[in-house]
Symmetry: C3
Subunit: 277 residues, 3 copies
């Protein structure tokens, strides 16, 4: 993918300030809101069905995240999703913990079945749970056995492309190597840093940022998702490079938001490590 395309995606976010409705877990919701602001979008959160449907109507995109789901909020996700679909808004699903509990697996499956998703973003264990091919997950982290590696990259790309074709949307699998694909094309993204796994919510934040990118670039969801994933990884690299001897995951979290906030088109074009696979 031409890195100029990634830069365009970012500039479109900055130019349009996409308003994204997030129905998400209470663990990382504050970071999600600040990540959306950092990337150039604007967040709003509602989870009571009546309220969420109305709020969906004034937004441009919808991000659904099933961490800390409950029966009330699951019903809200379906109702808000239907409203977003009627309005033609892009919908992103982050199936946090799919595979880790029946309720999460079933909720993710039901949302995938019912809604015309634009993007599904998760770790490989969650994505396998959605594909119905999961072995087991370790809570909200991916099973190490599921990792995308240089050795299984071609097979991983084929798997993600096939799932994208089945779901009719972009699928973004993040990990040490990220794979982002639609039915026809797949890309490996090699940005990021291992410390991103030492704070909670990097995945949740990326999902919200991806929703903003797709909302700002509705005709190019694959390019938008690749740009979001590469940019977020790049922000992680910048954040890591700022860490001093006394810094840990507290400072890293702050630096990550800072780097996302300061990320510009030239930096993304120069730093993105994206390869067609």
């Amino acid at each position: 993918m031409d890195t100029a395309v990634l830069a365009e995606m970012l500039e479109q976010v900055r130019a349009t300030t996409p308003l994204v409705h997030c129905i998400t877990n209470y663990v990382t919701v504050n970071d999600c809101a600040n990540a959306l602001l950092a990337c150039g979008g604007s967040p709003i959160m509602a989870d009571e069905e009546e309220d969420a449907v109305a709020i969906t109507g004034i937004c441009g995109g919808l991000a659904l995240n099933i961490g800390t789901l409950n029966k009330r909020t699951v019903a809200t996700m379906h109702a808000a999703g239907k409203r977003a679909a009627e309005l033609g808004h892009p919908i992103l699903l982050d199936p946090v913990g799919a595979g880790a509990s029946p309720l999460r697996t079933e909720t993710a499956a039901a949302l995938v079945d019912e809604l015309p998703l634009a993007v599904v973003r998760g770790n490989m264990s969650e994505i396998k749970a959605i594909a119905g091919t999961a072995a087991s997950t370790r809570g909200v982290d991916a099973n190490p056995d599921d990792a995308v590696t240089e050795d299984n990259l071609a097979a991983s790309a084929a798997f993600v492309r096939a799932l994208a074709a089945k779901l009719g949307c972009v699928v973004a699998v993040t990990g040490a190597i990220d794979v982002v694909a639609d039915a026809e094309r797949a890309f490996a993204v090699r940005n990021g840093d291992a410390v991103m796994g030492k704070i909670t919510g990097t995945g949740c934040m990326l999902s919200c940022v991806t929703a903003a990118y797709v909302t700002a670039n509705p005709d190019r969801p694959l390019e938008a998702a690749v740009a979001a994933v590469a940019g977020w990884g790049l922000a992680g690299e910048v954040a890591r490079s700022r860490m001093g001897a006394l810094d840990g995951n507290g400072s890293f979290r702050t630096y990550l938001l800072d780097a996302a906030y300061n990320l510009d088109a030239a930096q993304l074009a120069a730093g993105a490590r994206v390869e067609a696979i």
Copy 2:
């Protein structure tokens, strides 16, 4: 307003450590708690009706914030509000997103109708929704058409004074220029920085801080609210002045709490830009 009065308000908060019960949204609740601690107050949060009524009884003030409201917490707000009213505790309402959805607009209206509020604090779009004169809002941010400017300052002051008279409380409208008024007097506050809009929750945090100021100074709610608003804006200015080239909204959020924590009476008296209008 004599800046010495503002300093008195702050010193009274530091001297009395007002305990403020906050029923608030889960997006910014952690920052609200830390902002209360930073300003010299003490936070406690409860939202189950039975629990919230009991907790209200051991506190000095109550802050109600309708972001991420649901039917259970709306009922709790009414019950806790009634209890606070019986006890003569100051009650602050932050009508987050009033005008953005019917449930929020109606909930704000019902709370305004039922409770003897001490302060309502919101952006101009939310305040217009409460006044029944709203055009439209853009989610949780104010509609740019609603901005208080030097050109409409006198009209804005008249509007806020009139609403304060109607509601029988202090009304604080925050934005690039803040307007704080009761039925008789209105003040413009010109502290603050645009980066405050690039983190989530500056409004929610200010509402909790204002509740602490009014709780500590129950006989002078207007002076207390002006001091809280000016002090918070000043903290935003200090936070902005600390930002280096690599800093973004992550660091700004930290610096804002830091500045609120270190704000003292002399600094507030010297830095507050308050004008009777």
Copy 3:
């Protein structure tokens, strides 16, 4: 207690990455997750009964925190607690605000009665509420009259030991001087810094960290709890030492996570101030 034992406890956490299921309040939940990651554990949060029971099954330990409890989550705590008990997982209870409202006091009492707890951790007012000897609490902070001091240290130790014997678990009372005891042995821990009380959630975070320590060291819950308490206090001291003139509770919060993240066995062994009492 030999400081080498404390170091062993820490190393066991780092070596095993205990997965801790936390059912906790929405005020400090993000900091709890990051504190677990900082200490070397891994967090997962669920609070819908069906989901929480399943998630409990894939974890190693369970932390229950009753801040912002509601009837739904209280039922979930009982169900998840029963499942954890069946599996032999260590269960920690943090009775936030016990004594401050009937619902909290009764919920804490019911959990203590029903579940085979490994650790109860709270401030002295909360612990007295559990023991049925409470006078009054000031919200979520301890009543100053309840403080453990050099003067009442022996009596405090006897009280905590007696409660530990009654409950059949470790009891950790934190404050300016911490007391950690089982039925036979009690230790005073003199690590920590007063600024820890100026951010929200230091107690909640310590509870989650303690759950990780006990999960990683299931046969030595007393040693594990002492190590967690001393290490957390030490992290507070390191955080305080980093504070510059402009820093406040915002930076302190970041530095505290950083210090917990960087804490190593040698540092803990050298810095822990633990005394048998």
